[in-house]
């Protein structure tokens, strides 16, 4: 079995007294699309920065393609395609200048492949980067990252700020390009519907703590939302193992529970529920319940 390209081992990172990551451990297997989710400030970008060696973990270690992230050999970056949050590029350069700049920097950069990507994406070579739309910039950043022919692609919220159409287009391109050569993809995103469409495995960071790390299907299977109806006002949520979130609305009680199976209907029935049904949950619902938490 080949080594995991990304390994987080009890990574903790502090900004001053602010704990951004708390003992985060996970690994990304080769060839998978791994989505790292979390609210703003949950630690997603910090985790990627730790992984890429831009921030040293306060404790623990992160390994990238078998190397400790704090001591990454410069050449290793040839094997990692990275799109930073906000698609940071050099604004004053023309697209072709930027391609040349990347080619001069990365030994593995394939200019011909890049040209193919750019043509495929319809990006104008003679325009300056700052003149491109946000969607075009995102596509350009992705094309540049992929033209390196990287083993691992790391995208930090690549669809941020894109409208639904552009985002979908971008995602399709991204999936096509990445899956062409069986690359590993680690990305963060706020757009859960997109994640649901592409990710093999998801991890959810909640205020620096990793709460979920499982295949998407497993998560959907194990986390259930139950709607219990009562004759009168709904009572307080029962004590349940694995209760993620409970909401009361007049005569209904909505519970999000892990591995609720038979325990939730039984508990609700005891409280006098007239009916208990399990509802289908999207990843977005799940994410919202996870990250907002508690009883409301």
């Amino acid at each position: 079995m080949s080594e995991s390209p990304v390994v987080f081992d009890r990574v903790t990172h502090y900004y001053g007294s602010e704990r951004a990551l708390d003992t985060v451990s996970f690994r990304v297997e080769p060839g998978t699309i791994f989505a790292l989710l979390g609210r703003n400030g949950a630690g997603k970008t910090t985790a990627l920065k730790c992984l890429l060696g831009f921030l040293p973990p306060t404790r623990g270690s992160a390994r990238l393609l078998g190397h400790d992230a704090t001591e990454l050999p410069p050449d290793l970056r040839n094997r990692v395609g990275y799109v930073a949050e906000g698609q940071q590029l050099v604004g004053w350069m023309k697209v072709r200048q930027l391609v040349a700049f990347q080619k001069a920097s990365f030994a593995s950069f394939d200019a011909e492949l890049c040209a193919v990507y750019l043509k495929q994406l319809g990006l104008p070579l003679k325009r300056r980067v700052f003149q491109l739309s946000r969607g075009m910039r995102a596509q350009l950043a992705l094309a540049l990252a992929l033209a390196q022919r990287p083993e691992l692609v790391i995208l930090d919220d690549p669809a941020m700020g894109l409208d639904a159409v552009v985002r979908r287009e971008f995602l399709e391109v991204m999936i096509d390009l990445i899956q062409e050569e069986g690359r590993t993809l680690l990305f963060t995103s706020h757009i859960l519907s997109d994640v649901e469409r592409v990710a093999d495995r998801v991890a959810i960071l909640d205020r620096g703590v990793l709460r979920v790390n499982a295949p998407l299907d497993t998560v959907k299977e194990r986390v259930g939302r139950y709607r219990a109806l009562f004759d009168g006002d709904a009572p307080a949520a029962p004590e349940l193992p694995g209760l993620v979130r409970a909401r009361r609305r007049r005569n209904e009680l909505v519970l999000t529970v892990i591995d609720g199976g038979g325990a939730v209907p039984e508990a609700c029935t005891k409280l006098g529920a007239t009916s208990v049904e399990r509802e289908p949950m999207s990843l977005e619902d799940l994410f919202v319940d996870y990250t907002s938490g508690g009883e409301s």
Binding site: S17, D22, A104, A214
Partner: protein, 670 residues
């Protein structure tokens, strides 16, 4: 790296333009307004510091440019490429400046003007390179420290800026000092970069920074502190000591002799009770910084007023092989001065060998020139750095013809000198005219007495200071001044002390015997005592072993001691009382406590924590600087512009195992 270099160069276009404009202004300013090199140097240095700081801030901003950071280049090579681009961006305007500088300033004028300030090894046309090196070094250092680290940046700005100002505004050995500082700075930048590149590890860079930059910061910082506590602090109580002896009122309005490098300043004025010359504080400052220039301005002012101006032309001589050799002549009609190993007198001289004596001798000349207007006695003593060997002087007489001197026909007095002979004996030097009359006499001061200044006594209608604009005040100063009625010479008596000293005044007036008066100067008011006491504050941040050594080291007893004590060895400038030693100990303890707190957050073992405590106790604040270099800064990364305090109890980096977050039962792991 090449790609990054060109990209950076392109992005520095704005900096190029600013620097280019700056360079043109500097060059034209120099040529058009005849600014002193010193001023240009100060401005250029400040320019280097400011642009370096701005550039460094840009670097700090770009540090977050992850698009640039994520490429197969080490962080150091990336920084190196940036720095190289910055150097290029700096060099182009600098070369434009030099070109304009050369074109705009004709060679003779150029050399003559520079000759007043620059030492001989810099006279061969390398001033420009020196200028370039100084500014580029300031730029590079500031960019490096501002762009990489916060604390050193602050330290750099706090220490280097005023020190640079001090260095470039003072005279005498300042250029040498500036050159040394620039050299060290350049060495620091180069070495740290090269070391970092060679080893490719941040720890190596930190170690290099520690060894080099830390050393510079320490030296400069202590030097600055010494300056603050000895010079600046004592300047807070400018005192005027007034005493009377017969019909003469003595008034010493100098500051304490806190800094030996100011020894050439004329601190006192003296005059008959009916009037006296008063030099306002700003003029004293001018004497310290631009006295030579000031004298020239005065001469021009007087000429504009249609007055007869006594020519001033300092010539520095050196006594070699039984002869006095001319070492330097100024074209200006300025008189006076003493030189190391020789003395001066003189009218205008057209050409001369390059001046190779330190500037202070010119200032000596400037200080005494008013004395040599009549048959007066000048009492002087060569500076201690290189005394004239008395044994080498012929005890009987050495006669030197002065006929070879070019004498200005406009001045009657120097014409007489042209036919005079110089007679040197073991005790004095005499100018004797053809008839054997003594024109004037130069005597040595007695032992333990040191020349301080010499002043004309002039009548004033009333006691008046003129706190007006500088040039205006200078004009008024001369306009209200009467003709000289005599002159006075002041000297210091040993033992010297920065805050308590004795000034001996000798007053010479026609038809009066020499009047000798000792003026005791000491702190009197509470604030003065406090200021005098605070000069030991330099001990405070010293490393404990040094502070202890300073406490036990001998106090300066002689002028030479003071010179060596203050200038040659600033590390031992404190230690005047046990109180400061105890305060230093307390500060070291506080540093150790703070180091413990920080180390517990950033070190993995208790042993390391203890070592840091010991190191910071021994090194004091310097230990904290060292710690800052060596330990990572990430845990105290500033967020939102403010550094956050780390709660020790919640620290993740203590030696204890860090517990995993408590499970909530809602985890999904598969």
């Amino acid at each position: 790296m090449k790609a990054v270099y060109w990209k950076e160069l392109r992005e520095l276009a704005a900096v190029w333009i600013i620097l280019l404009v700056w360079a043109v202004i500097f060059a034209l300013d120099y040529a058009g307004w005849h600014k002193d090199l010193e001023e240009i140097l100060s401005l250029a240095t400040i320019a280097g510091i400011v642009t370096g700081a701005v550039h460094g801030l840009l670097d700090r901003y770009r540090r977050n440019d992850l698009f640039l950071a994520h490429r197969p280049l080490s962080a150091l090579r990336l920084q190196f490429a940036r720095t190289l681009a910055g150097v290029t961006a700096w060099l182009v305007p600098a070369l434009v400046f030099l070109l304009l500088f050369r074109v705009a300033a004709p060679s003779p004028h150029y050399v003559r003007r520079l000759g007043r300030f620059v030492e001989p090894d810099l006279l061969s046309g390398s001033e420009s390179l020196f200028l370039l090196g100084a500014t580029a070094a300031c730029w590079a250092l500031l960019r490096l420290i501002v762009g990489t680290r916060r604390l050193p940046a602050v330290l750099g700005l706090v220490f280097i800026l005023p020190v640079a100002m001090l260095v470039f505004s003072m005279r005498t050995s300042t250029l040498t000092a500036a050159f040394a500082v620039s050299l060290v700075i350049a060495l620091v930048c180069t070495t740290t970069t090269v070391l970092g590149l060679a080893v490719g590890r941040r720890s190596a860079l930190r170690a290099a920074c520690l060894l080099l930059l830390g050393g510079v910061v320490l030296f400069q910082g202590l030097g600055l502190l010494r300056w603050i506590t000895t010079d600046l602090l004592l300047d807070t109580y400018p005192r005027i000591t007034v005493t009377t002896e017969g019909d003469v009122l003595f008034r010493d309005h100098g500051r304490p002799r806190s800094e030996v490098s100011h020894w050439y300043q004329p601190h006192a004025s003296v005059g008959p009770t009916r009037g006296f010359g008063y030099e306002p504080p700003w003029e004293e400052h001018w004497h310290s910084a631009w006295s030579w220039h000031l004298r020239i301005v005065r001469a021009l002012n007087d000429l504009e007023e249609g007055r007869r101006q006594v020519g001033l032309a300092p010539i520095v001589w050196r006594y070699e092989d039984g002869r006095f050799l001319c070492r330097h002549r100024q074209q200006l009609e300025v008189l006076a001065g003493f030189g190391r190993g020789g003395f001066l007198v003189g009218p205008k001289a057209e050409e001369g060998a390059p001046f190779d004596e330190p500037d202070q001798f010119l200032q000596w000349g400037a200080a005494v020139f008013q004395c040599v207007t009549e048959q007066h006695v000048i009492i002087m003593k060569p500076p201690p750095v290189d005394r004239i060997p008395r044994d080498s002087l012929d005890p009987v007489r050495v006669e030197i013809s002065t006929k070879s001197l070019a004498v200005s026909s406009r001045n009657a007095w120097p014409e007489r000198l042209a036919d005079a002979r110089l007679v040197v004996t073991g005790d004095q030097m005499l100018w004797v005219d053809q008839t054997g009359d003594v024109l004037f006499r130069i005597e040595w001061l007695p032992p333990k007495e040191h020349f301080r200044g010499s002043f004309s006594i002039r009548e004033f209608k009333k006691e008046e200071t003129t706190p007006a604009a500088r040039k205006e005040a200078a004009r008024r100063f001369f306009l209200v001044r009467g003709p000289p009625v005599g002159h006075a010479v002041s000297s210091d008596l040993e033992p010297v002390h920065p805050a308590r000293y004795t000034v001996r005044m000798r007053v010479f007036r026609p038809d009066h015997p020499m009047l000798l008066k000792d003026i005791e100067v000491r702190p009197e008011r509470g604030s003065e005592h406090a200021a005098a006491m605070l000069r030991g504050a330099v001990t405070l941040p010293l490393p404990i072993p040094v502070a202890v050594a300073s406490y036990f080291s001998a106090q300066p007893r002689t002028w030479d001691d003071l010179y060596a004590w203050n200038v040659s060895d600033p590390f031992f400038a404190g230690g005047t009382s046990i109180g400061w030693l105890l305060a230093s100990l307390a500060l070291a303890c506080a540093c150790a406590w703070y180091a413990r707190k920080q180390a517990r957050m950033r070190c993995a073992t208790e042993r390391a924590v203890r070592l840091w405590m010991a190191a910071t106790f021994l090194l004091g604040p310097l230990g904290l600087v060292w710690m800052r270099f060596v330990l990572g800064r990430e845990t105290i990364e500033p967020i939102g512009g403010a550094r956050r305090a780390v709660d020790l109890d919640a620290s993740p980096a203590t030696a204890e195992p860090w517990p995993e977050p408590l499970p909530t039962g809602t985890e999904v792991n598969a």
